[in-house]
C-alpha cells in the first residue's frame, strides 16, 4: 500500500515548466555574474624589475625620490603610469625602497627635509625616514619594494 500520489499530466507539465524555467534562469544568471565580476578579479600583470637609477644618486640618511613609468592596461585602454619610489640608505650598502602611497587612504606622501619626515596632505599622516608611522591615522608603515643592486644600478620589483 504505497501512499505515492498518481502524477497527473497537469502536475507533470507544471513541474517541467518550473524545472526548465529554473534551468534557463541559472543559464542566464551564472554567466551574468561571471561576466560582470570577472575583470575585477583578474590579477595584475606579471612582476618585473624596474631600473630606478644609479646608487650614487641616493644621499645617505635622506630618502631620495626616484620616478619611473610603467605601461598599464585597464580594460581595452593602454596607458602609462608614473610611479614614485623613495629610496633610503644609511650605510651606502643596504637600500630600502618605499612606495609614496599613504597607507591610510592612498594619497601621495612627500618628504619634507626641513622637518625630517614624510607628510601626507590628506589627513596629516606622518612617517619617519624609514617609513614607520609617527602620527596620524595611517595603520601601517609605508609599503616597501624588493630592491636589488646590479652594477651600481638600483632595481625594484613591481607588479604582481
Amino acid at each position: 500500500m504505497s501512499e505515492t500520489k498518481e502524477l497527473s499530466r497537469r502536475n507533470f507539465m507544471q513541474a517541467a515548466i518550473w524545472g526548465i524555467g529554473g534551468l534557463i534562469g541559472v543559464g542566464f544568471g551564472v554567466p551574468a555574474v561571471a561576466y560582470v565580476v570577472g575583470p575585477s578579479l583578474k590579477s595584475q600583470q606579471t612582476q618585473t624589475w624596474m631600473r630606478l637609477g644609479p646608487t650614487s644618486k641616493v644621499e645617505l640618511g635622506t630618502p631620495t625620490l626616484f620616478t619611473f613609468t610603467i605601461q598599464t592596461q585597464t580594460g581595452w585602454i593602454e596607458s602609462s603610469e608614473e610611479i614614485s619610489v623613495y629610496v633610503l640608505s644609511t650605510d651606502g650598502r643596504t637600500y630600502i625602497a618605499m612606495s609614496n602611497i599613504c597607507t591610510h587612504l592612498g594619497c601621495h606622501i612627500r618628504w619634507i627635509s626641513d622637518q625630517n619626515h614624510f607628510f601626507c596632505p590628506c589627513h596629516n599622516g606622518v612617517f619617519d625616514s624609514s617609513g614607520n608611522v609617527v602620527a596620524g591615522p595611517p595603520p601601517r608603515p609605508l609599503t616597501r619594494y624588493d630592491v636589488k643592486v646590479e652594477n651600481d644600478q638600483l632595481f625594484v620589483l613591481v607588479g604582481g
Binding site: F28, P31, A32, A34, Y35, V36, G38, P39, G75, W76, I77
Partner: protein, 219 residues
Amino acid sequence: MTTKINQWLDERTSWRKVWETIFLRKIPKVNWFYTLGSASLFVAVNQAITGILLTIYYVPTPDHAYDSVQYITTQVPLGWLIRGLHHWGASAMIILVILHMLRVILFGAYKYPREVTWFTGVILLLVVIGFGFTGYLLPWDQKAFWATTVGTRIAGTPPLIGDYLLRIIRGGSEISAVTLVRFFGTHVWVLPSVLLMLIGVHLYLVIRNGISAVPKRGK
C-alpha cells in the same frame, strides 16, 4: 509556511487572481504555431538581459566602440556568450516576429475583436526593425559603418524631405560620433521604452480578448 506567506500576500494584493488571469486562462485547442508570440517574447527578454549586460563594458564613442566590443568578445569571461546571445537573438527576433505575423494573417486572427492587438503588433514590428537598424552600427566595424552608410542613404532618397531626413538620422551630413551616440541612445532608451509600452498593451489585449481558435472550413 509558504502557503501562509502566499495567503498573507494574496489578502493584500490578490496576486492569485492575477496569476490565474494570466497563466490559467482558458484557451481553445490550438497548435504549435500559436507559440510564436511567446517565443518572440522570450527572445525579447533575452535581448533585454544581454543588452543590459553589454552596456556594462560597451562605450558608444568612435575611439572606444570597436575596442570595447573586442574587449567584451575576447577578454571578459563569457563575454563572447553574452554578445553572441544578443547578436543571434537579434536575427532570431526578426524571424520569429515575422513568422508570428504570418500566423496571425493565415489564421485570420487579426479580425474583430482583435484589430487593436494587430495594430500594436504592426508598430511592434517597426520597433523591432528599428532595433536591428540602430544596433547594427554599434560594433563600429567596417560592416557596421558601411551598412549604416547605405541604410541612411536609402532614408535620404524621398524627394523634398530626403536630404533633411538623412541629416536628421545621421545628426549631420556624415556618419560620425554624433551618429553613433544617437543610434546608441535610440537603441537603449527610446526603442526599449516604446517596446515595453506596446508589449504591455499587446499582452493585455491578448488576455482580455482571448486567443482565436484555429479557423475551420465552412465556418
